[in-house]
Subunit: 335 residues, 2 copies
């Protein structure tokens, strides 16, 4: 336990992320200070926002060259200098791309021993809760409404659409490639899925949302957001979850017609972060576990083995190769 494998960001990417922006190092396992705990990473979340963290400060501080790459992980407490945590407990927090981290106990959240532990990042974790709060508490959705979801095969989008169906909406996804679109329709049960790589978006939206869009759940920003705004119904709502088209060297575009189109169509655009809804997490956990236990939600997980594969995993995620929630298995489950 003296070796701590770490992945360092060695250069700030200016354009598409590459493996050469990272370096593997073998550091020492840290000693936890007063009030800190030493944790061992089990599963590391991979999210498009990880790329945005490299560009500068966002809702958290930037990742700078020389830093261990930041990342959210499910961990086991190994040693604790805080009365709040005991060895063997499961926690989650910003442990970074490394095997071991010493973190203040109050920066770690206890989590239930929910097996398989992958669920703590997929349906019962960051993906499921982001989808739940972003759809139900940001935009809202009513039975009979038309819901458009971009990155529909991704970790959040795949769940948003399924919750939309449970709530009685007509759900249209957007994803890249015929195979992913078929999966979104056939396995996840969306009513339709537009392949943005082959379809002309304006035509496709007119075809699949002939009466306009009530709710657009936006994971991508850019041109697709623009097309959606043009096709929103009067009084429509846009839940702004992310802008993956902008993160990895994509052109920094903003939709035209802001604020004019918001005014004349009485549209609401609302950004959010998962942490805004901590006080309603119990609702999310209750509903998400009911829906997944009953099979109403198909759980899609994409687990890559080995911390050394984290750079490749994130690069692939930004290129859209994942289906459902991508994560890295850093170490074994506790027995």
């Amino acid at each position: 336990m003296s070796d701590n494998t770490q992945i360092i960001l060695v250069e700030r990417p200016n354009g598409p992320l590459k493996e050469s922006h990272f370096e593997i190092r073998h550091g020492e396992v840290p000693k936890p200070g007063p009030g800190e705990a030493l944790v061992r990473s089990i599963l590391l979340s991979q999210d498009a926002a990880n790329r945005a963290w490299m560009a500068g400060a966002t809702y958290k501080s930037a990742v700078n060259p020389g830093d261990v790459m930041h990342g959210y992980a499910v961990c086991e407490v190994i040693e604790s200098n805080s009365p709040d945590l005991q060895p063997g407990q499961l926690v989650q927090g910003q442990a970074g791309w490394q095997q071991y981290a010493a973190l203040p106990a109050n920066a770690l959240q206890r989590c239930a021993d929910h097996r398989p532990l992958t669920r703590l990042l997929s349906i019962m974790g960051i993906a499921g809760k982001t989808a739940y709060h972003g759809l139900l508490n940001v935009s809202g959705i009513e039975a009979g409404e038309t819901l458009l979801v971009s990155a529909a095969a991704g970790s959040v989008g795949s769940i948003v659409g399924q919750i939309g169906k449970i709530k009685g909406a007509r759900v249209v996804g957007i994803a890249g490639g015929a195979a992913k679109c078929a999966w979104v329709r056939d396995e996840l049960g969306f009513d339709a899925c537009i392949d943005y790589k082959s379809a002309e978006m304006a035509t496709a939206l007119t075809e699949h949302c002939p009466d306009g869009i009530d709710v657009y759940f936006d994971n991508v920003g850019g041109d697709i957001l623009q097309s959606a705004i043009f096709n929103m119904k009067y009084g429509g709502r846009i839940s702004c979850c992310g802008a993956v088209s902008q993160y990895d060297g994509g052109p920094p575009t903003s939709p035209i017609g802001i604020p004019g189109l918001l005014v004349i169509k009485s549209l609401r655009m609302q950004g959010f972060l998962l942490m805004d809804f901590m006080d309603r997490d119990a609702d999310a956990e209750r509903d998400l576990s009911t829906w997944s236990d009953s099979g109403q939600i198909v759980i899609a997980e994409d687990v890559i083995e080995g911390l050394e594969n984290a750079p490749r995993g994130l690069i692939g995620l930004l290129a859209g190769e994942n289906r459902g929630k991508r994560m890295i298995r850093v170490g074994p489950d506790p027995s």
Copy 2:
């Protein structure tokens, strides 16, 4: 009563509006058809949105060359073919820039005989209600919050800031020119007012909103909206009421960082139209009349005599020459 003075839009403006885009004609007083009423205009509202109507369809059909210019007016019913309206009653609706109009009775709204009748367009009408609903029912405002209001000397902005003060907010206005800014501060009671013609906006916002902006009430769009977005607090709200910087040949800009900044700061941007809140108009009327009767709101009206001055009035409004609610007196009050 056989002559009906009308102002016609004779050319679609492509750039700043000029008097030459209009022509005065003398038509006939129309005969109301079945279900219609003949109305006589008393006071004609002038609003920045009038200019946007000339560019194309918005929340209503476009004004096209050859049309009587569209406009919202307080009128007296002269003759009625509908059981719902009687001669002598006061109504408001889209009567256009003309002395007489024949309109379907169901397109006209009855209004109280509230003297002076100018109040029906200012504090108790389109200006006051837009300010009320846009601030209280779109963005919301809490005591202790910082409220930024653009076009602060305008019909809506001047009231928004005063309602903000009543609700206990710290209110910072933005207006053009030192004299207007002094009026906004000294007469309307805003805490501060930034002169966008002389101040560097980023510096001024840092100075006057050092802890950031909780609520931005946007009447202008463009560069000021951009600066406001950069200075919004986490969880801030933007009430999108209009985009006057874009209407009159201004560059059609959109703020950069959409949706990224909305996501990382959990911002909400919401467009609205007055008609969205018809079911809550009674609340607005009750509160606005209380506040104006008690002197808590200073009523600012800018009345221009004579329909023939409507083109000049609108051109001046787009250039920001008005203080408070601009309107045209087309004819005398009913006795």
